[in-house]
Amino acid sequence: MRTLTKPRQRQGSATASSTHAHAHESAIKHVTGRATYIDDIQAPAGCLHLALALSPVAHGRLAPVDMERVRALPGVVDAVGFHDVPGHTDIGPVFPGDPIFVEEEISYAGQVLFAIAAQSQRAAREAVKAAMDAGVVKIDEQPASLDPVAAAERGELVRPTHVQESGDWQATLAMASSVVEGEQFVGGQEHFYLEGQACLVTPTEDEGVVVHTSNQHPSETQKLVAEVLGIPLHAVTVEVRRMGGGFGGKETQASPWACIAALISRRTGRAAKLRLPRAEDMRATGKRHPFHNRYRLGIDEAGVIQGGELTLIGDCGYSPDLSEAIVDRAMFHADNAYSLGQARVTGHRARTHFASNTAFRGFGGPQGMMVIEAAMDDIARRVGEDPLTIRKRNLYRGGEAPLRRTTHYGQTVEQLGLLHELVERLETSSEYWQRRREIIDFNAQSPVLKRGLALTPVKFGISFTAQHLNQAGALLHVYTDGSVQINHGGTEMGQGLHTKICQVVARELGLDLEAVRITATRTDKVPNTSPTAASSGADLNGMAARDACLRLKERLFDFAAANLHADQGLERDGMRLEAGHLVAGSGESQRRIPWGELVQAAYFGRISLSEKGFYATPLIHYDRETGKGRPFYYYAFGAAVSEVQVDTLTGEYQVTRVDILHDVGDSLNPAIDLGQVEGGFIQGMGWLTSEELRWNGDGRLLNEGPATYKIPTFGDLPPVFNVELMEGHPNSMASLYRSKAVGEPPFMLAISVWSALRDALASLVNYREAPRLDTPATPERVLMAAEALRRHAHLETRPSEEVVP
C-alpha cells in the first residue's frame, strides 16, 4: 500500500458512551429482511440438502441398516449412517454418550438413525419417508424408562449424585418447632427459537470444511466436526453471524447437524445444508430439564427456616450432555435469595428415554428456585402470615450470624443491602399492601373469580460453574482509514451482545459507534472460545475486547509520545482518546490529533494496528468433593410482583399487572437490558403457564409444533407491565464498567406469576393452605388444584349441592 484512503472522520458528534441505549447493531437489517440467517445464505452451486431419519420409538434395538439400499432410492445422492463415520462416533460435548447416529441401541424417539442428501430439502425428506416405508429400518422395540423418579430410585443416572451440606441439618430438623414439607413437579420447556437448527457446510481445498451454523458454541462444533471427520481442528472453520434465537438450545445441540452435514460435504465434495423442519427439531433436540423436587424444612414460630433438606431430581434424558452442570446450578439456586440455615441439598441426574435435556436460559437455576419458592408460600400458610412477610424474613441478611449471609455451598452473599433495598422499593412502588387488602376484600365478595398477588425475588449466580469456561478472547483491527473492526468469541443470538461489544470499543477508542464494525464470530479469528451462555457473553467478551483496546491504546500512545507533533513529541501522561481525537496535554499546551491521522502516522511508523485481548474471571473456584467454594464472581438480583385473576370454574386466568425492579449494576445499554428483563420474564411466564410438553405412554412427543406447544403471544403481555432497572448500585466486583449480566436472571422473575396463582387459589380455603400446583400451571392444572381445595374444604366443613361455594 503506497497511498492510503482518506481517513473517515466524523466531526464533533463523537460522544460514544458505553452506557447509551443504542439500537441493536442489526436492527435495520432485521426490519428490512436483509439480516441473513443460515437458510438465507445463497448456497453454492450443487449444494446438497439433507434430511434425517429419526427413530419412531423411544427404546429398542436397531437392526443394521442397509445403507446401499438407502443410497439406491430415487433422488438420493448420498446417505450416511453410523458405519460411514471416519472418525469419532461419540459427539458427547462434555461426557461421552451421544452417538452421532444410532449404532444399535435406540435411546429416544427422535434419535437420528441416518441422513440422506438430495437435490432439495423436499426431495431429501421424501427419500427419508420412502426409506422408512420401504422397511430399511427394523427395530426391536423395548419398554422405555420414562419416569425419572423411578429411574433415580433404581440408580439409573447419567452422572453421579452430588450433595451440598452446611451444618447439622438433621439435628436442626429434629429440634425445629415445626416442619414444613412438600413435593412438586416442575415441567420442562421447548426452546422454540424461531429459527430452527440449521447449518451449511462447504468443503475446503484441503481435508477440511467451513461450517456456517446457527450456534452458541462454535469452538465446540469445530472440535466435534474435526473429530468426526478424523482431521485436525485447524482444518475446520466455524462461522456464526447471528442466530434467530438460541436460549441455550444451540449450546451443545447445534453440533450434531454440523457434524452430519460435514460428513456429506466431505464425501461428496459439495456444499451440504441441513435445516431441521420444526417438528423434527422438536423431536430430535433436548429441552429444559423437568424436575421433581422435594423439601423438608424446619422453621421457627416466625416462619424462619432453621434448616432441613432439599432433594432435586433432574430428568436428564438419555445422556449426560450438560446435565452435570445443570443439576449443579439447580442446587446452587435451591436457596434463591433465602438462607437455608443448616441444610443439605441433594441433586440426582436421572437417565430416561427422552432426548438429552440441555441448557435453557437459567440452566437449572429456575427449577431449583421453584422448590424454595413453593416452601415460602407453604410456610406462610402454616404460620398464617402473608407470603411476602415470610419471604422478607428469610432473605439473606448481613450483620447477623455468618450463616445468614452464607450459602449452603459456602459462598458469602455480597450486596445484601441492594437486595433488601430492591425488595422494599418494589414493595412500595407496586403498592403491594394496599393491593393485598383490596384483593382480600374482592375475593371475599367474588364466588368464582379470585385474585392473587405475589412478590418473588431473584438472586442468580454469575459465572460458568465449570471454571475453565470463564475465559474469552477478542481481536481488534484498525484499518488505515480509521475504521475499526472487532471480533470476539461470543455469538449474537438477539441478546445484543455485538451491540454492547461495539459500544465498549467505541468508548475505549473515543469513537462514534458507526466507526466500529463487528464481524461474524469465527473460530479462525478468535480460537478456543467458550459458549455464549451463562449470561456471561458481555462480561467475558466485553472485558476481552476492552483488553485489546487498552493494549492498542498503549502502543499508539507510546508511538505518539515519541513521534508525533514534529520533534517536540507529546506529553505521554494523561494522553487519551476522546471524541475522535488523540488528546495530549492540557490547557495551552493541549494537542489534539484526529484519529485518522494518528492511525495513518502509526501505519507509516510501522506500528501494528491490530491487537488481541484476553480475559479470565478472577477469584472463582468450587470443590465438588466438599461441595464448597465460590462458584460465582457475583450475584445479580431482581424482584417482581405479579397479580392474577383466576376463574375457579374453568381454571382460566389472566396476569393483570406486573411490576419488576431488576439489578444490572451500571447498565451497558439500558434499552437492551430492559429488553432482556422483559423478554426473560415473559419467557419464564410461558414456562410456568401455557408451555406444556406432553409425551405419550411410549415416550413419543405429542407437541411437534406451535399448534400444540403454546409459547406466550401478544395478548399474554400483561396490560400493566412496569419494568425498571435498579439504579445507583454498581457491581461491587470489578466487572465490565461495573455492569452485571442480564441474560438469565430475569427469567426467574416469572415465578411470581406462579406464586400469585397459588395465592388466588389459596383464597378458596381462606388462605389456610397453599395448593400443590405443578407446572406448567395450565388452566387444567389450575382447575384441578381448585377442585382439590374445594373437595378438601367440603370434607372439612359442610355438605353442599353447590359447585360454587
Binding site: 439500537a23 442489526s26 436492527a27 435495520i28 432485521h30 426490519v31 428490512t32 429482511g33 439480516a35 440467517y37 437458510d39 438465507d40 433422488g75 437435490q119 432439495s120 423436499r122 421424501e126 426452546h191 427459537y193 424461531l194 429459527e195 447471528r242 442466530m243 434465537g245 423442519p277 420444526r278 365478595q445 367474588s446 364466588p447 368464582v448 443470538m493 438477539g494 376463574d647 370454574l649 374453568t650 382460566e652 389472566q654 434499552a671 437492551i672 429488553g675 422483559e678 423478554g679 426473560g680 420474564f681 415473559i682 409444533g705 406451535p706 399448534a707 400444540t708 403471544t713 401478544f714 395478548g715 399474554d716 403481555l717 388452566p779 387444567e780 382447575l783 349441592e801 359447585v803 360454587v804
Partner: protein, 511 residues
C-alpha cells in the same frame, strides 16, 4: 403459470400446484426476507401481505401466512413482502418504529411482525381508528416472538403513526405500469415439465365449472384458505398433482339474506367466505360469535380460513360447528349427483340441517364431489341468548380443549329452546341432548342445572389428548353449565332487583 405483482413488479412464475407462497419466494425467487418458522401457519414468521383490488380499484392488503398459502392463489394479486417496504434508506413507518422501539432482538420473527404492522398501517391510512388493545391483539396475535416479550412491539404499533413516509408507495405498481414481465423459471421441481402441463392448479370461475371439475377429478383436493390442507404438504409431504381452488367461485363468496321454507330469516353464507369477511356481520348480530373468531385463529388465519372449510373438515375441535349447531344452522350442498342419467353438466343441490351432517370422526354426509355451497346463519331472535365459551391453554390462536355454545330463551322464568353444543367432547361437534332435556322447560335452578351436569355424563365420554385430559374435559364442560346457571340466574335476578351483577368469568376470555 402464476402472474402477480411482487412489491409492485409484475412477475410470471412456474410452480407445481402444491407450491406455497413461501417456497415460491425463497426457493424460486431468492427473496429470503420472509422466514419459515413452523410451516404450519402458527408462528407468523412468514407473514406477507396479499393485496386485492376493492370495488374502487384500490389495493386492500391482508396478512397471510406464506407457508400455507398456495402460490397459485397469487394469480392477479399483489404480493408485498418485507423487502418491498423501504424506499432506499427511508424505512416504512412500521420498520422505523420497530427500530426506534428496540422491538427486534434476534430478528427472525421481525419480518413477519413488520408485515402485520404494515397491514395495520394501511388500515389506519384508509380509515383511522383508535388502536385499542383488542385491535392490536387482533393484528399481532398470530406473530410469535420468543425474545422481546412483546412490549416494545406494542410500542412500535402505537407509535408508527407518528412516522412520515415518502408519498411514493414503492410496493404498488407505478402509474405507468409496464408490461415487461420478468419470467422466472422454476428452479426446483421433481415433476417433469410434461407432467406439470397435464395436471395443475385449477381455478374454476363458476359453481358449474367447479362441479364439472369435481365430477372429472373427484380425487383432487379442494382448497380455499389452505389453513388445514396445506399442512398435508408441509408436514406429511403430500403431493397434489391437481388442486381445485374455491376462492374464485363467485357463488361461494356471497353473503345473502334469505328466508327459509320454515319461515326462519337469516343469511346464506357462501362456503368460501372467510372469517374476516364474516366478521362485520357477526359483529352486528352475534357479538359472542365475533369474539370467538378472535380466539379461533390469528389475523393471518381469519383472513384465509373459511366457514365452509371449518365445517367440511369435520374436526371434533373445530370452533364454529358447535356454535352453528346451537343456532340451528343448515347446509346447502352442491354436487355432481350420482352421475347416472345426467347430462354430465348438471349441478345437484340439496339442503340438510347441520345436526345431520357430522357422522363420525372426520366423516360427514358429503357425497363424492359434493361441496358446501352455503351455510345458513339464522337471524338473531329477540330474547334468545347465545353464549360461546372456549377453553384452551392459551387465550389467543389456540385450539380448543373444550368449546361450549349455548342458546336459550327465558319464557316466564322457564328456559325454552335450550341448545347446548360442544366441541372437544366427542368424535364430532355434538349437542348435549340429555343435558338439553334436563333444562328444557325448567327454571334455571341449581337443581335443574345439577341434573343437566349429571346428564352430560351420558351425553359425552371425552378422551385425553395433548390439549386436555378426559377428566378436565368432563369437569370443565360441567362447570361451563354452572357458569351458564350463574349467567341465566343473574339475568333473572337483574330483572327482579337492582343488585349489581358479580363477574363470573374473565372478560378477556369470555362474555
Amino acid at each position: 403459470m402464476i402472474e402477480f405483482l411482487l412489491n409492485g413488479q409484475p412477475r410470471r412464475c412456474e410452480a407445481t400446484p402444491d407450491t406455497s407462497v413461501l417456497e415460491l419466494l425463497r426457493d424460486t425467487l431468492g427473496q429470503t426476507g420472509t422466514k419459515e418458522g413452523c410451516a404450519t401457519g402458527d408462528c407468523g414468521a412468514c407473514t406477507v401481505a396479499i393485496g386485492e383490488r376493492d370495488d374502487q380499484g384500490t389495493l386492500r392488503y391482508q396478512a397471510a401466512n406464506a407457508c400455507i398459502t398456495p402460490a397459485h392463489q397469487l394469480n392477479d394479486r399483489a404480493l408485498v413482502t418485507v423487502e418491498g417496504l423501504a424506499r432506499g434508506d427511508a424505512l416504512h413507518p412500521a420498520q422505523a418504529a420497530m427500530v426506534a422501539c428496540h422491538a427486534s432482538q434476534c430478528g427472525f420473527c421481525t419480518p413477519g411482525i413488520v408485515m402485520s404492522l404494515f397491514t395495520l398501517h394501511e388500515e389506519q391510512q384508509r380509515a383511522p381508528a383508535p388502536l385499542t388493545a383488542a385491535r392490536l391483539e387482533a393484528t399481532l396475535g398470530g406473530n410469535l416472538c420468543r425474545c422481546t416479550g412483546y412490549r416494545p412491539i406494542r410500542d412500535a404499533a402505537m407509535t408508527m403513526g407518528d412516522y412520515h413516509y415518502p408519498a411514493v408507495r414503492v410496493w404498488e405498481p407505478a402509474a405507468s405500469e409496464s408490461n415487461d414481465v420478468e419470467e422466472v423459471d422454476k428452479t426446483e421441481s421433481a415433476e417433469p415439465a410434461s407432467q406439470q402441463k397435464a395436471f395443475g392448479f385449477i381455478q374454476p370461475a363458476s359453481l358449474e365449472a367447479l362441479i364439472a371439475e369435481r365430477r372429472a377429478h373427484p380425487e383432487a383436493p379442494l382448497v380455499a384458505g389452505g389453513t388445514d390442507l396445506w399442512l398435508e404438504v408441509t408436514q406429511r409431504l403430500a403431493r397434489f398433482p391437481r388442486v381445485v381452488d374455491l376462492t374464485r367461485v363467485p357463488e361461494l363468496q356471497h353473503i345473502e339474506p334469505t328466508t327459509l321454507d320454515d319461515g326462519r330469516q337469516g343469511w346464506w353464507v357462501g362456503g368460501a367466505v372467510t372469517y374476516a369477511r364474516l366478521e362485520p356481520l357477526l359483529a352486528e348480530h352475534y357479538p359472542a360469535f365475533e369474539h370467538l373468531l378472535h380466539r379461533l385463529g390469528s389475523a393471518q388465519v381469519r383472513n384465509r380460513g373459511t366457514l365452509g372449510g371449518n365445517i367440511a373438515n369435520a374436526s371434533p375441535i373445530g370452533d364454529t360447528p358447535p356454535v352453528l349447531l346451537a343456532l340451528g344452522s343448515r347446509l346447502w350442498l352442491a354436487g355432481p349427483g350420482d352421475g347416472e342419467g345426467g347430462s354430465g353438466e348438471e349441478v345437484v343441490e340439496r339442503e340438510l340441517p347441520l345436526d345431520e351432517f357430522f357422522l363420525d370422526y372426520k366423516r360427514t354426509e358429503l357425497r363424492p364431489g359434493e361441496v358446501i355451497r352455503a351455510i345458513f346463519l339464522p337471524h338473531p331472535q329477540p330474547e334468545r341468548e347465545l353464549r360461546i365459551w372456549k377453553l384452551s391453554k392459551r387465550r389467543e390462536d389456540d385450539i380448543s380443549a373444550v368449546l361450549g355454545a349455548f342458546t336459550w330463551r327465558l319464557d316466564d322464568g322457564v328456559m325454552r329452546d335450550v341448545r347446548l353444543a360442544f366441541g372437544g367432547m366427542a368424535a364430532t361437534p355434538k349437542r348435549a341432548l340429555a343435558a338439553e332435556a334436563a333444562l328444557e322447560g325448567y327454571a334455571p335452578t341449581p337443581a335443574a342445572f345439577a341434573a343437566a351436569r349429571a346428564a352430560l355424563e351420558t351425553d359425552f365420554q371425552p378422551m385425553s389428548d395433548v390439549r386436555g385430559s378426559a377428566n378436565y374435559r368432563r369437569l370443565s364442560a360441567a362447570n361451563l353449565l354452572e357458569r351458564l346457571r350463574l349467567v341465566v340466574s343473574q339475568r333473572d335476578q337483574l330483572d327482579n332487583n337492582s343488585h349489581g351483577s358479580r363477574e363470573v368469568m374473565l372478560h378477556a376470555y369470555a362474555h
